[in-house]
């Protein structure tokens, strides 16, 4: 677990171009939204945009570095090395998650720093609630990434198209830049219910409460419980899916991409 996290961190900071992309994408997205809100005179939402940019950094890492990593590993021949070893695949994924989180912290911190310096968004934080929400939101997001990685095992490169297809709708529904559920949501109730199935939606809502409205642990308690349950369930489902797909791959001969 630790070693895979180390590889992720080393690889991210060893690739200058990748590091630049990791920093630039969430920063530019959140700055664009913050400028939009500021120019429209909705200054209270500029803070939402900056918070969204912070979480977009992690969400992007889940989508493009976690979920699709196994497909890249398969193409490079590393995945079969994992399978031939006694190391559990789930442990490797957890290591990848931890490494991904560590490697993303600079991007998230940069968004926070630049956002708050340039837009001076006012916050009313409850730090303990922020910390707990953040940890549980990340846990559930990366558990979802582990489940998504099993899709890549099943569908290979076709899953990249799924990634692209789902990225923007999830960004939109999950309320990265505006409340998508609860007070202030522009969505009908049914859509809010559907959006609530995404861990990022619950996480963003709870973070907004704890960052901007001094929502303490009690105020975001239900969200914390939902995120914790999501994390456990998604981790369980991801583990099961990976084992089932590994066995299917062994039977059908689809575990290894390269043919000689």
């Amino acid at each position: 677990m630790y070693s895979r996290a180390w590889v992720r961190v080393q690889s991210t900071f060893g690739e200058p171009l990748w590091l630049a992309v990791n920093l630039a994408v969430p920063l530019l997205s959140s700055l664009a939204m913050a400028l939009l809100y500021a120019s429209a005179g909705i200054s209270k939402y500029t803070g939402f945009a900056i918070l969204g940019g912070i979480m977009l950094a992690f969400w992007g890492n889940v989508l493009w570095s976690m979920a699709s990593q196994f497909n890249w590993d398969k193409e490079e021949g590393i995945f079969e090395i994992y399978l031939v070893s006694p190391a559990p695949i789930t442990a490797i994924l957890v290591g990848m998650s931890l490494g991904g989180i560590l490697a993303t912290v600079p991007s998230a911190a940069l968004v926070a720093l630049i956002g708050w310096v340039f837009f001076s968004a006012s916050i009313n934080p409850s730090w303990i609630a922020i910390f707990l929400t953040f940890i549980l939101a990340l846990a559930s997001l990366y558990a979802m990434g582990m489940l998504m990685s099993s899709l890549y095992l099943a569908y290979g490169r076709e899953a990249e198209s799924l990634n692209s297809a789902f990225a923007e709708p999830i960004n939109f529904l999950s309320g990265l830049y505006f409340p998508s559920i609860g007070i202030g949501s522009p969505f009908p109730f049914a859509l809010q219910v559907a959006a609530s199935l995404i861990p990022l939606t619950i996480g963003m809502d709870a973070l907004r409460k704890s960052v901007f409205y001094a929502g303490n642990v009690a105020a975001v308690g239900v969200d914390l419980v939902i995120l914790a349950v999501m994390a456990v369930v998604l981790l369980f489902l991801g583990d099961r899916a990976l084992k089932a797909l590994e066995n299917r791959g062994r039977r059908q001969g689809t575990l290894v991409v390269r043919l000689r």
Binding site: Y2, S11, G14, G77, Y82, S85, P86, A87, R260
Partner: protein, 326 residues
Amino acid sequence: MAIVETSKLARMFESKTGSVVALEGVDLQVGEGEVFGLLGPNGAGKTTLIRILSTLLMPTSGNATVAGYDVATQPEKVRPIINMASGSERAGYEFISARGNLWFFSQLYGISSRVFRERVSALSSQLELDGYMDKKVYQLSTGYRQRMTIARAFINDPKVVFMDEPTIALDVMTARRIREFLANQAKESKRTIFLATHNMAETEAICNRVAIIDRGKILVCESPDYLKRKYGTPAFVMEVTPPPNSLDIFASIEGVKGVTSTLDEERGVARVKFVLENEEAVAKIINAAASKMKLLSSWRQEPTLEEVFVNLVGRGFAEREMETAG
């Protein structure tokens, strides 16, 4: 005691055009400390067999065991004691050093950092990787990258190592170095090396026994020398001048199965090759040549494993690969 055993092992693949039989009725027993070669053209089933034995693929029927553990039903028992490497592998994280990559792969086997340091130092020395260990993988040439791959395959001190064409596309010196390393590992550490290759020289150089595989079936399984003696065709070659107008004087000699000739026009020399039924024909050939031409040189040509394959199958590797591709 056999450390790798298969019994009526078979594997079929379903495709849009129908079923493909990749392996059929494979029975093998490989001992501890043996360098066992699996020789056959591309598409013969070598990689499929290695994938089954390394737990990446399940057999369709039959069974296979490694150190007594069933590869299909007990992969968790097999994986700690095996490893594998392939010649076409590019496995390694590009922006991490060779040492860092080897450390990471050692962690997949739960190896402590102290043991890792000892092992990587020995492997690095044996594979002449010293001086390259702290370079990032993208900075390594193909040869050194392959040496790193080989080191990775031994990092967990495995009982059985599966090698799939480990020296393909490598220069002669690097290929030789790797072969020497593999032979030493088998001899000194009693490690079983299961080597799939279509390189005859490699097989003859280091394998204790060779199984020749074609279209998923094992044709024979013996030592290279035995196979060449039993299935190969010894030959006698001589260079003569002036080139003979006809080979009839040689073809009629008792003990000569066949005779061919190639001409070196620049030198005005003919190289005449005789396929023999017995050694007594050599003296008669030399006498016949001496009466009509000048004998410049002569030598015995040992049978090759490709000749063994041709004699068993009726076609060479290249022709068989074209048939399989077609």
